[in-house]
């Protein structure tokens, strides 16, 4: 069958052609396969050779977690080693709110295992509001042993709650040092920003707290220490698998203060119920021995974040316990200004010590009668007497003779109107009036009549108790001014080396010794036979002082100030500045008692107790507010 043969031939040829076509296609496919595998190989070379280092770094970064170990904060002690601030370890329960869907429900459930008070909840809510993203925040701090055990038993129920051992700050003296030692608190965004600009934020990794007020704040860099690091191998879930390396943290340095805790307590008790401030300075070094602002508050409230209720109470109290009166409160100096006026008179040659004026009970200037305290006047008054009896008329006239600019130029040397530079922040400069100041402040010229009241420490001028203390210390120290400082020395926690905060003589005021002697003698006279005599009766040491009374409200002309008729908050402030012993001063003190009336009655006895303690080691019985008011001292 030829046809069939032919057909079969065609079929075979077709088949061969078909196989040929197929093999071409197969070759193309093979080439495709090879290309794709070459692409893979190229990718492997790229990843594993060219980019190997990069990916190795990433793998290491994945694997290794750097865990900061916060250092233990330096402790603070007084001059005798009494603890003012220290640390203790305690367990906390912490939650990272951003990782938890329903924080309230979690806290409710947690409350069935450990006690969570309303205060804890308020505090925690406030922390959430203030916190950065992904931060673990304490819901409970300072767990008791029993609570630790209870939580541990129920731990499986709370995968989102961490129990951590943390160091806590404690202020054993509580209210006694609230303003001067200050306290720490949680780092807020603003402080974090500051740390970042200073480039020291890395050292704060793992640290939640920072000094907020007082020495805790101003010596932050010394106290904080160096954060340690631990390299931990972690798995993808962030669980630590093992520790690879560890650099131990270095504790912060300790602070030894010039302050005396016992004296501080003496002062607190001496103030009784009164508000006010006291600063006691060693005039030969500027070291601050007592620094009190009353009322205070318990700084321990702030340590793990103050709850809004306590905060509100402190912040809105009319007693304003949060204000550091000694540092930031400004008050008219009243008659305590007179010794400085007298020195100015002598320096400018406006008065001779023995030159006496006649005091008719006041001074008439420009149709205005400036009343003296004593009705009918003090009679003939020389400089000594003007200070001892605190004669206003003498200083009305003197102020007029000196003129405002001479007064301000002179007293400026004692630190009035400028910040002392003490080693805690928040200081007020006060107001030292002058023609220039008034022009700047009120865009008005100075009226000569305004100088008259400045002469007795009223009018525009207001100063801080710290400035008064520094100024009286300068007189005690014959014009050598020191920068006041709270901290005596910083002790390196490792080497025990001490960095002494050097007594820092600011300048020496050019005062003639004979001028100084006149004023100093008069100040001794105050405590011997003048306005301070009653408070210092029977003291076995010679002291120098000056009383003062600062008006809170203006008394209308021709009207007399009668204490019992004035509401308590508008009563005069009592002031007293003093130093002792008079010949070789060891301590200079400025006392301010708010709304307590005459300085002689309310403020001077407090200074007496300070000197009794400091010079004689006497610890007096507590003084009752009633005693102060009744003037029985």
């Amino acid at each position: 069958m030829p046809e069939l043969t032919i057909n079969r031939g065609v079929e075979i040829r077709n088949s061969r052609l078909e196989i040929h076509h197929f093999r071409v296609r197969l070759a193309v496919a093979s080439a495709f396969v090879l290309c794709m595998f070459a692409l893979l190989a190229a990718r492997f070379v790229y990843l594993q050779v060219i980019q190997h280092e990069y990916y190795s770094t990433l793998a290491e970064a994945n694997r290794i977690s750097i865990v900061p170990i916060p250092p233990s904060r330096g402790i603070i002690v007084d001059r005798n080693g009494v603890l003012l601030a220290n640390n203790y370890a305690a367990y906390t329960l912490e939650i990272t709110p951003r990782k938890v869907a329903d924080v309230e429900a979690l806290v409710d459930e947690l409350a069935t295992v450990v006690e969570i008070t309303a205060r804890d909840r308020r505090r925690f809510r406030k922390l959430i509001d203030e916190s950065k993203s992904f931060e673990s925040l304490p819901i409970r701090t300072r767990l008791s042993d029993e609570e630790i055990a209870r939580f541990a038993a129920h731990r499986y129920r709370f995968p989102d709650v961490e129990m951590n051992a943390r160091l806590f700050r404690r202020y054993p003296q509580a209210e006694l040092f609230s303003h001067v030692v200050g306290h720490i608190g949680r780092i807020n965004p603003h402080e974090l920003e500051q740390l970042e600009t200073k480039g020291i934020d890395a050292n704060y990794r793992g640290t939640d707290y920072i000094g907020k007020v007082g020495v805790e704040q101003s010596y932050e860099t010394h106290l904080h220490g160096t954060t340690g690091v631990e390299e931990v191998e972690v798995d993808a879930a962030g669980r630590a698998v093992r520790t690879l390396s560890r650099a131990a943290p270095v504790s912060g340095n300790n602070l030894v203060l010039n302050l005396d805790a016992k004296l501080q307590e003496v002062v607190h008790r001496a103030f009784g119920e009164f508000r006010g401030a006291l600063v006691a300075i060693d005039p030969t070094t500027g070291g601050v021995v007592a620094f009190v602002s009353k009322p205070g508050f318990d700084p321990n409230l702030f340590v793990d974040g103050i709850d809004p209720l306590n905060w509100k109470e402190l912040n809105e109290s009319i007693d304003r316990p949060m204000v550091n009166r000694a540092l930031a409160g400004t008050y008219p100096p009243g008659s305590t200004f007179k010794p400085f006026m007298a020195l100015a008179a002598l320096s400018y040659g406006k008065r001779r010590p023995e030159q006496a004026i006649s005091d008719p009970g006041g001074y008439r200037f420009g149709g205005h009668f400036f009343r003296d305290d004593k009705v009918g006047g003090h009679g003939m008054v020389d400089m000594y007497k003007s200070i001892v009896v605190s004669c206003d008329t003498y200083y009305y006239m003197l102020a007029n003779d000196l003129g405002i600019d001479n007064i301000s130029t002179f007293v400026k040397q004692f630190g009035f109107g400028s910040r002392s530079g003490i080693d805690i922040t928040g200081e007020s400069a006060g107001i030292l009036p002058s023609q220039e100041w008034k022009m700047k402040r009120f865009k008005q010229k100075w009226y000569a009549g305004e100088t008259i009241s400045v002469g007795i420490g009223q009018g525009y001028n207001t100063y801080t108790p710290l400035q008064l203390a520094q100024a009286i210390a300068a007189i005690a120290n014959d014009g050598v001014m020191f920068r006041p400082h709270i901290v005596d020395y910083v002790e390196d926690v490792v080497t025990r080396a001490r960095t002494v905060i050097e007594p820092h003589p600011l300048h020496t005021i050019p005062l003639k010794p004979e001028h100084l002697k006149v004023v100093k003698d008069a100040l001794v006279g105050v405590n011997k036979e003048g306005t301070g005599a009653r408070a210092f009766a029977g003291a076995p040491y010679v002291s120098a002082g000056k009383t003062g009374t600062a008006q809170v409200i203006a008394i209308k002309q021709g009207e007399k100030y009668i204490e019992s008729r004035v509401a308590e908050r508008f009563r005069d402030h009592a002031l007293f500045i003093a130093y002792a012993p008079a010949d070789k001063p060891k301590l200079a003190v400025a006392v301010l008692v708010e709304n307590a009336g005459f300085g002689a009655r309310a403020a001077a006895p407090i200074a007496r107790k300070v000197f009794d303690y400091w010079l004689l080691g006497k610890q007096p019985t507590p003084l009752k507010a009633d005693d102060l008011k009744a003037g029985r001292d």
Partner: protein
């Protein structure tokens, strides 16, 4: 006598394919042990899988190809029916309707289609061998598109693409005109924006993730980033067996299945990867040779499709792990843990062996 029995028993075994497959399985076992944190149960379980898979391979190597031709159409019809059932009554798992509950167990019919579709197309082309016209290609395209459409609807884009690839290989090998291929390519490129519009969000996310995995490092980009780090940090010689940090600290997901290559790559480095590529090429190359010498159109097309599908699995898996392809659930053939995949692949290799050893029988 013994020699004759041995020869008879091994008559249909292709030694090159077998050796390459065994080597790949061994590497798989080694890597599974590491990836499972040295789990012996997992190792023995995979060993059992291998025994079963080799059994399946042996059986299919001994079945002559023309028996397969007979089941092509029924298998395809069954597969399409099951896919329809899935669309109607399937179980929804992870937002996709892929599983069908049949009595005691759930099955995923789309897996079946990976074999049924190329088998069907090879059978169809073989049947109309003498009179292949454009019409036949259109019918073939329809045969391909119906199951793909059903799988896309589930939605399971990865499987759909793999089925498409298997079908497309058959069409290509059957001699689809280059002009049409080119035209389809252009059309596909033009359809991309349209396709994008019909995609589900997570599908788009996978593609975006591929372009820039760092965009969503903790979300969909996480697996790609971590597996790329594993590969890159492996370096030239790798970190050593059981020493991969990415692996052992849980940064790699699915360490014994879909992402086993990341483990292998981290611990054995570039040298290990190249060895793996060579072994895959041995399998593929042998498959190509067998296909080139296959006796008829059916065996040529089916054998070619099996070989190229094997290649596709390997390529897609390694490409996914090394960050050049999106994350699709494709195991690394012969290496990944898992019975289904192992059995399916060995079944394919068995068919290749059968094609290699049954040609004389058919031709005569």
């Amino acid at each position: 006598m013994i020699r004759r029995i041995t020869r008879l028993l091994t008559a249909h075994i292709d030694s090159q394919l077998l050796i390459a497959a065994l080597l790949l399985m061994s590497l798989g076992l080694v890597t599974i042990f590491s990836g499972s944190n040295q789990s012996v149960p997992r190792l023995t379980s995979q060993l059992a899988n291998i025994v079963v898979a080799l059994g399946v391979m042996y059986v299919f190597a001994n079945i002559a190809p023309h028996y397969l031709m007979r089941i092509a159409l029924p298998l395809y019809v069954l597969g399409v029916l099951l896919l329809v059932c899935v669309a109607l009554f399937g179980d929804i798992v992870n937002g996709a309707r892929r599983w069908l509950y049949v009595g005691v167990t759930r099955i995923q019919p789309s897996e079946l289609m990976k074999i049924a579709v190329p088998l069907m197309l090879a059978w169809y082309f073989d049947r109309y061998e003498a009179t292949l016209k454009l019409k036949n290609y259109l019918v073939a395209a329809a045969l391909l598109l119906v199951p793909i459409g059903l799988v896309v609807r589930q939605p399971d884009l990865g499987t759909a693409l793999l089925i498409s690839a298997a079908g497309a290989y058959v069409l290509f090998l059957a001699g689809l005109s280059w002009r049409i291929i080119l035209g389809l390519g252009v059309a596909a490129a033009a359809c991309m924006p349209l396709l994008w519009g019909t995609m589900h969000d997570y599908q788009r996310q996978r593609i975006l993730t591929l372009i820039d995995p760092t965009q969503d490092p903790l979300g969909s980009g996480y697996h790609t980033i971590q597996s790329t780090i594993a590969v890159g940090s492996g370096g030239l010689t790798g970190k050593g067996w059981l020493q991969g940090t990415q692996t052992h600290l849980d940064f790699i997901p699915e360490r014994t299945t879909d992402f086993i290559f990341a483990v292998f790559s981290e611990e054995f480095g570039l040298l290990g990867n190249l060895l793996l590529l060579v072994l895959f090429l041995l399998v593929i190359g042998r498959g190509m040779v067998i296909t080139a010498n296959a006796p008829n159109l059916f065996t040529r097309l089916f054998g070619g499709a099996i070989t190229l599908t094997f290649f596709t699995y390997a390529f897609v898996n390694m490409g996914m792990v090394s960050g050049i392809l999106p994350v699709v659930g494709v195991p690394l053939p012969l290496v990944s843990y898992g019975g289904t995949s192992l059995v399916t692949i060995c079944l394919g290799l068995g068919i290749l062996m059968s094609i290699a050893t049954h040609k004389q029988l058919i031709q005569s």
